[in-house]
């Protein structure tokens, strides 16, 4: 959502943003109660289809965005598989003991990470921040004070990025050399954060004054440039998710191929 290169708009962009978020929150919570590994596998495939076909981004970028979540998958899978407990022993070497249970629990945990990553990215890549806040103001009565603070803050982010870039050059010119290790990290943190924070606070203060000078009142009634409401896209989206979940349940019950069905937490 904070990324600034959403060039193609797909029908997922037309779904009411705050409704979309609400559905995703339900999914997030609901998934925690599911322990069937087949369901997770099928659900991941479903999300993969949505992610690559319906977000309107080039495949290259989509692969880059999702790559960190694969690292999360691998790390949680490995740590769970190698050290988790279980009865059916497959392999043992010192501290490492892989059992059937721990192996599949690792896969389950890793998939959960990936699924959350997919959901988050699908939301972020198909939602414009301004539209999101307009819809939360209109559908869920978010206070304009909060909504506009967020929108103004998002505007500041690219400026902060630019400043970090200049700061890096400036420190080089001033002959600042950071020592290696933790003390270097601390020093770096100090040299970067103080000026950036000072600039940002000052700028935020100025923007706040400018907003009030433009007769902004965070609690007053207002009209909206973008009218946000519900449309048939919301129904489609709802059906897509419900249908997807039904199919996953169906597949989980009829097409199992792994020796383990449920992972016990």
């Amino acid at each position: 959502m904070f990324l600034d290169f959403s060039n193609k708009s797909t029908w997922l962009n037309q779904v009411n943003p705050s409704f979309k978020l609400l559905l995703f929150v339900f999914l997030f919570v609901g998934l925690l109660f599911i322990d069937n590994i087949h369901f997770y596998l099928y659900f991941t495939i479903g999300l993969l289809i949505i992610y690559f076909l319906m977000t309107g981004f080039p495949i290259k970028w989509l692969l880059i965005f999702i790559s960190p979540f694969f690292i999360i998958f691998l790390s949680s899978f490995i740590s769970m598989a190698l050290f988790g407990e279980g009865e059916t022993l497959w392999y043992r070497f010192g501290m490492i003991h892989i059992t059937q249970e721990s192996f599949f629990r690792g896969i389950h945990l890793g998939l959960r990470g990936i699924i959350f990553g997919f959901l988050g990215l699908i939301f972020a890549l198909t939602t414009k921040p301004v539209m999101f806040f307009y819809s939360t103001m209109q559908q869920y009565r978010l206070k304009p004070k909060l909504a506009y603070s967020f929108m103004a803050a998002i505007r500041l982010l690219p400026m902060v990025a630019e400043e970090v870039y200049v700061l890096k050059q400036a420190l080089k010119v001033r002959g600042v050399i950071f020592p290696k290790g933790i003390s270097g990290f601390y020093q770096r943190l100090k040299y970067y954060s103080v000026p950036i924070l000072a600039q940002s606070i000052r700028r935020a203060h100025r923007i706040a004054i400018a907003m009030e000078a433009k007769q902004f009142d965070g609690n007053a009634k207002r009209t909206y440039y973008y009218q946000s409401g519900y449309s048939y896209h919301d129904i489609w989206f709802c059906l897509l998710l419900l249908g997807g979940i039904m199919i996953c349940f169906f597949l989980q019950n009829n097409f199992t191929f792994l020796p383990v069905e449920r992972v016990i937490n």
Partner: protein, 489 residues
């Protein structure tokens, strides 16, 4: 608003017996200040930096104390019911990412139905002369001048009686400055306009009245523009205001010493990249020892990129050969001063900032202390040496950022728009110092958009266009001789 007398005599703003004191300061910023502005009048407020012009403007608009709390008192006042306020910094007065959304933001505040917005937004953009091919254009893709035009358009949507302009062109180049005043003149005929500005050349013909405020926050002169220049020229000079013809009164530095012909920098086939994109390409160019080169050109022509390439701050191809030996760190020989001083500071006090630069230079403690106190004196920072750099005024910050580099006595000094947004007094003080460095043999390369600086000081001017070095014109082959006092005070 009170109605009194005929239309011409109606009062737009009146303030009587204003007293203002900042919480932690001993003296009053304003003590019994009174001011009346008639409806439709165009007023220019001028005065030295830090004299409280901007604060006064905010008080007259009601921003102080409504949005910013500062203790104040007055006996009587008439303030405008509806006003528009344009701020100095084009980047910190918008809260929305797109141009149309920003104007819509104002219309929403006034609870104008969304159906009407679609016609009002293009109307206001058109009124200020901001012709965008698509009104849904990103604000950060606009130039500084266009941003300020957008700011004017968005305050026009407030349908203001009074327009306050708080140094709207201080951070703009010449082209942007022209754009802004163009827009103001288009829309302001029936409005009361109060302007704070220290570059007054463009507004001089537009305003009906100039009010001058001194450092003590008193009105010391008030009258029609031509009379003010006639009668109070000395005050304009003293307070460092850019009045029309300010350059004519200067003592031009005299150039006598023949330049040596030893090259300081030799550039061959230099290409500078930003985010893997080629920004500049220069076939060949030479900088002679003792040169003072002004790099000029339009916005985005690659002036700053050229400087950054020479300072090895960005990725480059080709060669830049420096004549000095490479035995000591590069950045001690080549000093670079950024446009935004705030990002250059690394310590907690002004004194430490200078000491930091000398950290690795082989001098005795005694010599270091001496050099620091010399620099504090030259840059008039002695009285603030123990405070945090961020607490300095804009002019002081700029001076400190230059001092922190020149204290290392670099052989080559690269300056990115050093006089940008400074008042005349600060500018001339800085130029004075550069002249003295130049006399001592420092080679200077300076990005500037001020043609006057190039004319008066440079030994050569490089003009950039679309990433290429368009022309190299030699101004003189001599170096400044003798002690100079540019400001002539």
């Amino acid at each position: 608003m009170k109605k009194q007398g005929d239309i011409m005599e109606q009062i737009a703003i009146s303030m009587e017996g204003l007293k203002v004191k900042f919480p932690n300061e001993k003296s009053f910023l304003f003590m019994d200040l009174s001011l009346t502005v008639k409806q439709g009048e165009k007023v220019l407020l001028v005065g030295p930096s830090g004299g409280g012009k901007s604060t006064l403007l905010k008080i007259l608009a009601g921003i102080i104390p409504n949005s910013v709390e500062i203790p104040m008192k007055y006996t009587n006042s008439i303030l405008p019911e509806r006003y528009g306020y344009v701020f100095q910094d084009p980047d910190s007065q918008f809260c929305m990412p797109y141009a149309d959304e920003e104007i819509a933001f104002v219309l929403e505040n006034l609870q104008i139905p969304f159906q009407k917005m679609a016609e009002l937004i293009p109307y206001y953009l058109d009124t200020v002369g901001l012709h965008l091919s698509d009104i849904h254009t990103k604000i950060n893709q606009l130039s500084g001048g266009m941003k300020q035009r957008l700011a004017i358009a968005s305050v026009l949507a407030l349908q203001p009686d009074v327009l306050f302009l708080d140094e709207p062109t201080a951070m703009l180049d010449e082209e942007g400055t022209d754009q802004v005043w163009d827009s103001v003149m288009k829309i302001a005929s029936d409005k009361t306009v109060i302007i704070v500005e220290h570059k007054i050349e463009q507004v001089y013909d537009f305003v009906d009245r100039i009010i001058m405020i001194n450092t003590a926050g008193e009105i010391i002169a008030d009258g029609e523009p031509y009379k003010m220049i006639e009668e109070h020229l000395d005050l304009f000079r003293k307070y460092g205001i850019w009045y029309p013809g300010v350059w004519k009164g200067l003592n031009k530095p005299s150039f006598q010493n023949q330049l040596s012909f030893n090259p300081a920098i030799t550039i061959t086939q230099l290409t500078g990249y930003k985010i893997k994109k080629e920004i500049i390409h220069i076939d060949t160019a030479h900088v002679t020892k003792g040169d003072w080169i002004a790099i000029t050109g339009a916005n985005g022509s690659g002036k700053s990129t050229l400087l950054q390439s020479l300072a090895k701050l960005i990725k480059t191809k080709g060669t830049v050969h420096y004549s000095f030996t490479q035995d000591i760190p590069f950045y001690r020989k080549v000093g670079f001063v950024f446009q935004n001083p705030e990002l250059q500071f690394v310590t907690n006090t002004v004194y430490d900032e200078l000491a930091f630069s000398l950290l690795n230079i082989p001098l005795s403690e005694q010599e270091k202390r001496q050099r620091i106190s010399d620099h504090l004196a030259i840059f008039q920072l002695d009285h603030v040496k123990n405070i945090h750099p961020f607490q300095l005024s804009v002019g002081q910050m700029k001076r400190l950022s230059i001092a922190a580099i020149t204290i290392m006595e670099p052989e080559i000094l690269l300056l990115d728009e050093p006089t940008f947004g400074q008042d005349a007094a600060n500018t001339f003080r800085m130029l004075d110092y550069f002249v003295s460095l130049h006399q001592k043999g420092t080679t200077i390369l300076m990005v500037t958009h001020d043609q006057q600086i190039s004319e008066h000081f440079a030994t050569a001017e490089w003009t950039m266009d679309a990433g290429k070095l368009l022309t190299i014109s030699t101004k003189r082959t001599c170096r400044v001789e003798g002690k100079q006092n540019v400001l002539g005070l």
